[in-house]
């Protein structure tokens, strides 16, 4: 779900950067300087995990994991995703440089939503409910990402309307996969080291 350079109209790229700067400034304020190495280490794990491909039938999809980043890093998820995307652009040439702001909004805002939703576990700390939340957060963050992608496409050119709808629908299998992965990873962490999720 990357938008590359040249696809959207210039105003949208600038808007993307404006939103990203505001959210980054706000979320970085919540992060202390000493936490930077810890966030970096987790960011690099997510970077590496996003290289894992899951085979479905004839094709394979790579993992996004933005919901899981939100669950584990909280507010720091946004800068973490921004840096992940920056490195993906500069190392692999995926995405782009002018589209970085837009892409960070597409991937990062749903991570913050997943973080907020996962906080609901405090209302009902039963394991089955926590696992349900993990499943829900994993899936819904991909849904929100595809919706944000569509919004940017339509704002750029209104002719993108049908293409945007196709983009949301074609992400449904990925939503399910990410939901399941998120569920399994949280289940694993709850069993092995539950403090990580507190």
């Amino acid at each position: 779900m990357h938008i590359s350079d040249g696809v959207l109209n210039g105003n949208i790229y600038i808007t993307g950067y404006a939103i990203t700067s505001l959210i980054t400034a706000y979320t970085l304020k919540k992060v202390s300087e000493e936490d930077i190495p810890k966030i970096s280490v987790v960011t690099s794990v997510f970077f590496v995990a996003s290289l894992i491909h899951i085979k479905i039938g004839p094709t394979s999809v790579h993992l996004v994991l933005n919901g899981l980043v939100g669950i584990l890093l909280g507010m720091a998820a946004f800068p973490s995703i921004l840096i992940g995307l920056l490195l993906q652009a500069f190392i692999f040439g995926h995405g782009g440089i002018t589209s970085l702001g837009v892409n960070a909004v597409i991937m990062g805002v749903p991570a913050l939503i997943a973080h907020a939703l996962f906080e609901l576990r405090k209302l009902n700390p039963k394991k089955s409910f926590v696992l349900f939340l993990a499943f829900f957060c994993g899936g819904i963050s991909i849904f929100f990402s595809s919706v944000l992608l569509s919004v940017f496409l339509i704002l750029s050119e209104k002719e993108f309307e049908t293409v945007a709808k196709i983009a949301v629908v074609s992400n449904i299998p990925i939503m399910i996969i990410e939901a399941i992965i998120c569920l399994f990873v949280v289940k694993f962490l709850l069993r092995v080291k539950p403090q990580l999720l507190e």
Binding site: D5, I36, S44, P79, I181
Partner: protein
């Protein structure tokens, strides 16, 4: 998985010798300029500008083509979908398939604009060593917390790539062959889970070790950038090009 960096970063060319800070600002400006273009007559010009830049950078054209190959199918798909779904004046219709004029025009504009922008982005990536580009970003006054994140993350990517490689070998030795989807999801989740577990435990130790060695959240990299007259000239030329294409775009009917 192998990450290959800086393969062509040490060629002797005018673009390689351009101060990385100036190069980032100028070329990003050029890509932003391109994204405002939507007049068909201007498209050949932006394509020529990007080809010229590739020519001056002396990067092997075959290598760039190979990198473009991954993106072109997506762009074709986007143009195709746009031209059959946009609505408007029908150019051509075959049974239920209708090709719309508006969609085809916007699709082609996006196609050319993307190719030109991606080529320039590749020139930006390939003409300076990766770490120098990151240091240039730091020199451009990006908040220190963000640059700290970039450098640490970059360092640890290699550590976890190696861990992932070992885990995959261990899996194969135990007879894992990616059969059912659910099984593969379960196995990959376990991989991600244990990578996270190792990393978070390691993070605590790394943090303590760094604080003991005097880390207080600020990594002062001495930046050794010094701009020469030629850097200003190159950036000035780029700026003029950006202004000219934007002015032509704005004044055209």
């Amino acid at each position: 998985m192998h990450i290959e960096l800086d393969k062509y970063a040490h060629i002797n060319s005018h673009v390689h010798h351009w101060d990385t800070r100036f190069k980032i600002v100028s070329l990003v400006g050029l890509i932003v300029g391109f994204s405002f273009i939507n007049k068909i007559v201007l498209l050949p010009f932006i394509l020529i500008i990007s080809f010229l830049l590739v020519y001056f950078s002396r990067l092997p054209a075959r290598y760039l083509m190979k990198r473009l190959e991954y993106i072109i199918p997506f762009l074709f798909l986007a143009v195709f979908l746009l031209s059959i779904t946009s609505g408007g004046e029908i150019l051509y219709s075959f049974k239920i398939l209708k090709v719309y004029k508006e969609g085809l025009i916007i699709g082609s504009v996006i196609f050319i604009r993307s190719i030109a922008s991606i080529l320039i982005f590749f020139v930006l990536l390939e003409t300076s060593p990766f770490l120098q580009t990151m240091k240039a970003l730091q020199a451009l006054k990006i908040p220190s917390k963000l640059t700290g994140l970039v450098f640490f993350t970059y360092r640890y990517i290699y550590v976890y790539l190696e861990e992932l490689r070992k885990m995959k070998i261990a899996l194969r030795l135990r007879g894992y062959n990616n059969n059912s989807v659910l099984h593969s999801l379960r196995t990959n989740s376990a991989i991600i889970g244990s990578l996270l577990l190792r990393s978070l435990e390691q993070a605590e130790r790394i943090c303590t070790a760094m604080v003991l060695r005097g880390y207080s959240g600020n990594v002062q990299e001495s930046s050794r950038f010094s701009a020469r007259a030629s850097d200003y000239v190159k950036s000035l030329i780029t700026l003029v090009i950006i202004l000219v294409i934007i002015i032509i775009q704005k004044t055209m009917p």
